[in-house]
Symmetry: D3
Subunit: 307 residues, 6 copies
């Protein structure tokens, strides 16, 4: 990786379409690297129900419809204080039970029996889960660049990203257990599969205690602790962006699929994928560029966003 003077500016279209996300692109490689900032500055970027939906909307629907040639996405918190403080505890619509006892009158409340009330929570939870899973299913790699606070839903969120980098001041916590519930947006599913010390992971999940960047590195949650977080993230993004977007997408597709399957099933899946992908022009382009010691030029993949 070469040194990289970072700078980026608002995305011409997207920056005005989201309220809780600030969307920019890197000026040096405008169509390749998108920077998405969680934006709730007064609450350490806490995730309101609106932000939740906007994250889902961006990754499920919007990115695939852009004409831009986006190849890597960096997800970060606005400012330096926090990646995100997690769920916005002041947003009542995020709490099914609390909502029920708060927004309906006592008499109404009693007419809906317990089972009916409970049965309606599961689809709500799954909708919230899907907003973060959209990151995992997005065909483009997503790098979480974290500094400051990353707790609760913030941990769920970064676990759905491909790569996690953090600054030395980052503090993490599986906070949900401390407010009386089991984390249900992905931490308990993904964290043990992306790290290498289940004993320590369970400690963190049962206590909800804070852990710092060096602990995160030790268990394998982050790739490394960065002195200059955004510069490192942009350097990494740029390196990925120079590779064939088809090859990178196929790699992500295979990694996500294989994580949850047997090795045999994963091999079969990538064989099917490459049965198609081997017909790309990118391979001869890469090979001939390598021979000429030039940089290969790869076309964008038009309008695609999902694995």
């Amino acid at each position: 990786m070469t040194s990289f003077p970072a700078s980026f500016g608002p995305h011409p279209i997207l920056s005005s379409r989201f309220e809780t996300l600030k969307i920019s692109w890197a000026l040096k490689c405008p169509q390749h690297i998108l920077v998405v900032e969680l934006y709730n500055p007064r609450k350490r970027n806490a995730i309101s129900s609106k932000m939740w939906r906007e994250i889902g909307h961006l990754f499920s629907n919007i990115i695939g419809q852009l004409d831009d040639d986006i190849r890597v996405i960096i997800l970060k918190g606005y400012g330096h204080q926090a990646f995100t403080a997690g769920i916005d505890l002041g947003d009542a619509s995020l709490f099914p039970t609390t909502t029920a006892t708060t927004t309906t009158t006592k008499s109404d409340e009693e007419t809906v029996d317990i089972a009916r009330r409970g049965i309606s929570f599961a689809p709500q939870i799954r909708d919230m889960q899907q907003c973060f899973t959209a990151i995992e299913q997005c065909a483009i790699p997503v790098i979480a660049a974290m500094e400051g606070t990353c707790i609760g839903a913030g941990l769920d969120l970064c676990c759905a990203c491909d790569i996690r980098l953090c600054a030395a001041n980052t503090r993490f916590s599986v906070r949900e257990v401390q407010i009386g519930l089991a984390a249900d947006i992905g931490t308990l599913q993904r964290l043990p599969k992306i790290t290498g010390n289940d004993s320590r992971v369970r400690e963190l999940c049962y206590t909800g205690e804070f852990f710092d960047a060096s602990d995160a590195l030790r268990i394998g949650l982050v790739s490394r602790i960065c002195e200059n977080l955004m510069q490192d993230a942009l350097c990494l993004a740029q390196t990925i962006a120079t590779n064939s977007p088809l090859a990178v997408t196929g790699t992500k597709r295979s990694l996500v699929y294989s994580r949850d399957r047997t090795v045999a099933e994963g091999l079969d899946h990538v064989a099917m994928h490459n049965a198609l992908a081997l017909m790309t022009d990118d391979i001869p382009e890469a090979v001939s560029a390598a021979k000429q010691k030039s940089k290969p030029q790869f076309q964008r993949i038009p309008k695609h966003s999902r694995l």
Copy 2:
């Protein structure tokens, strides 16, 4: 975590009901933390067939029927010499083949054909497996606090616990391979899923060689090496015990389920769990305590022991 002067005494009911397990509780938080000691002092706490059954019985049946409000269990070896030296090689009833050639006369022996003899081993092995799996299925987190020897069945045993802490003098070994058989009580299933270096794990499984505490930490088998083992274990237990027992149980349930499933299945499962669990009073209790900066008080879960 605050500092914690540890001390504990015999459990009023359980201490007299088990022969090979010493069962105490922590005096500072009597109903919350149970301490279970493997007790076979003359044989470095080797696991006899009686101890095997008592472990299964305790975790499958007894704990769920207590009126106590137990929230964390610490499993350790009696004394400081050994967590456990593994299977009690002197207990003939633990060895199907040896038993067969020892306890029946030659002439009797020959009347049972090989296939019939072999076919009857599998249920015996599964019964032994289930005694340790009961720890994994117990709704309450179990911390293994290990010092000295931990070999063979001891490794199977600690891998079925949630969290593993050890003293610097702890020595581990996947010993089974050295006595001519493949470990069949869980090490080969659980060890690779809770650690992060499959290459080193296979070395240990194929050689049966000893590895020490720092190697255990390096591969991710233990959370950390403790200078003051029991104090650390009790501190950790106490921290967990202050959280909602419903939230902790739900977290364990989701972690155990999700380890063996796809992320999508794990998410669906925790959504179903929370559809019910979100109706708990623990969430408003936790939220209101947080606002008042007081300690939340959570009720026990009556008579439950299994996930």
Copy 3:
């Protein structure tokens, strides 16, 4: 482990039957340790289509038919420059697309429609995958001893081995992404399951950048970095070879099966395996040798090579 003066010589039968593999055995324990060297000295041991097939043939068919008592296999590159430089880019038959456009005339080419062309790639890829999976399915542990270059297909290859050791000068790369395709011979399936930092693994897979021995150790790809690579590998091999080959095989079988299954399924599988394996004479032999503090003598398993 005792100190071990290493030396080995050509295998009397196999050495003449393979062109791209040099096959020797360790002279000190002639029938126990086989050393297989990838041999393509002018191209840093790049894997030609012939080498590919020979690897598959050796591990699928040949080893199980030898009369030797082979208990461990060491896989290394010829010389010290490279484990292997990966796929032999000059071997056209390894590239389905390139082949198509090269070896058929333009007019012929156009008569085969795209779907028919693509549909025929998948079986070719699966055949190539199977050549490396044969190592995983071989009943005998395989140690990859790596120094110098290990890129692309070399990484796929070493991930199919049981244990990975490397010298300090080893350099790795998931190179496929840099030539425009998703790695399809096993790296994307196996690497995340044998290491403990998914974030760093994805970085390496999306960038294709080189990583060195210490990074390989940090993520858990190798057991350790060896000062004297072959001596360490032979020592380790010898230690494994002194154990019961039946116990070692059963252990590998259970580890490979359980990696891809639930813990419950893995336990059931090993119970079935031991229902048969407990009837071996190796257990009484091991127990009695332990009592007499002598070395147990285990017979070979005649003609077996697959799990």
Copy 4:
């Protein structure tokens, strides 16, 4: 079942919101039974891309937001000529390849390489699949009442329903194979799991030949052949509608989940479901009504549509 004079009228809200679906309700039990008609009268109810999306939209989003107390849905074709003639071959937007060659100029076309073109088809196919899977995931039972033609996508569609009834004149065909492609919207996945003669099913899938109502009954595709189709469908719907909607939803949920899982997983899932559902008032209501030989009255489940 009592006799049942059938009659139904347009649904006050929905009837005006869909173009390709006619939506009515049964006048005798207005809020309980919804009748959805595939409406493309000039093309034997062929499924255009608009109808495809409207089916998905109705079952995914709309039904769950109605204030009506809908308990059963009947899906039929408009008129008596056809359930549906399958995909609307005249609607170019349903054919990825055709689209490509039609809507872009030849020169543009050639700039997108084969792999990029192919890679973008999969998400389109999955979107189309999801429109029919929405029926399977709808919390309310769906009865397909079929007469006349039911071919291609029509078969995919009815296989996603819960119950299939047909008139004697119904003719079915897995038509896709006859237009050169493998059926990809669910027939190949669901048909073998809902019938009991795989040999005959494969014949039908490889030939694409027509099969009649009695053949459909013989292989188990339909429950029975009805002389008076709509009366039978309404009778059946009414019988289901008198049961607790919570019990019916739970039954569907468990059947759909268990079809794809082991018996043990299915049992675990329904145990979790009933842990919540047993707290309903419907059970005491049903039991007390049974004692009093009166009809139990069950409340609706507010705003729910998905399993």
Copy 5:
């Protein structure tokens, strides 16, 4: 099958050890065929909580400890009126919710929050499920011989048996839906996998309506409708009992395992099983008897009851 004059008498040991099950054996082949009758004559053999536990106990624990050489079990209702009327609605301990509101005072009730109450139901349901699953896991084939009423839990029960025969007067019903709950003891999991018309099965599950013997035959629930039920059942049992018990057990094991797995996994499992079972003396015994046109004599499998 030869003609078979049926007659049987009380089992010497078991008949006195169960209250709700009458246990006899067939006098003509005393140690081979056990007849178990559901016995609750005043309530059409309704299943009380005691009967539930006794069924589980018999099949899980008792049969495997008998010295008898039991090879087939016939399960029937006492008398001719009913196989069983299903769950004993008068037995309060079978209904978690009802129990809760009945046996505790209102004030006590309110102290346990909803989530804690619900969370304790799941283990209870799983215990009840396990009592019936014990039949499926019993190493000995179980034939359900049914006449008269078979509803609710009776259907769950017979679906866990291997073979189902019925008299012409048998009436079945998935009754649970009519008392407000989803069947949770196995019908929804097993019925669709053992029959061949999912459409009709869903009708029956959503309506709870009765269906008769010929409908049961048509969907594939029973093998056939018997004019002389017990004679047919005994004939069939005797035919099975003349085969090698090892071969029959192995066949059941493979069928039960393979039902829930891929064909590849099932093949692998039976290969492992036969690796052991092929060493039986039963094969040469059967082959030599066939040559001599005599009846082969197979030894019993000592003390085994579980797959």
Copy 6:
């Protein structure tokens, strides 16, 4: 289907390359329909070890290398007496145990311990299984046309075919149980998944009794009973052969994959397949032929044999 005067002659190349298989093609459509006859006329086409290997070889390796345009394969027994009488009991090499006691001297025999002997059976069984599974994995549909005897391995064999037709005189039996072993070549895995009456299937598997063509039809083992077996088989084959071979192969691939997977996984798999297959020229060819009411002409798929 039009009427079809059947006649066929020896295949020019293959007929001389197999000893135990007679290979012809249908003269009316020479390159499309291959007829394979099991040939062991003195033993009712019993399957010797040579026939076993030749079946595997033909379907795994040979068919995919032919230059012929084969689109359907018919598998039948030579003559009218038997499809096949199953395993050739006189061929010692097919019986691992018998072999052991026969071909080695008693003294040698005793030197190999039980576990080593047993452990070597599993790979042998899996090799035999693979010979029949090759039919399932062959990209071309295989029709079993059966008359006379079909027992033991014959049933295993026909269950691996796509479609089963039989004459009225066909008699089937799961014979293995009668010679003391559990069927291990596929019947127990495939038969329950292709039929619709598990109760009757288990009867047949536990008794080994014969069942006739009408019973085979009733449980769903065969599509229908044919008066003129070969004419029906050829008619059916010809109908399939007129469809696009790409569409037929894709259909088989999806059916085989989906049988063993969830509906969701099956849908995903066929979406990936069609992402490639939709680029075929067969679709426009089929559509334009349909418009012109002419017969579409589809090209062969060059050199492919496996799914």
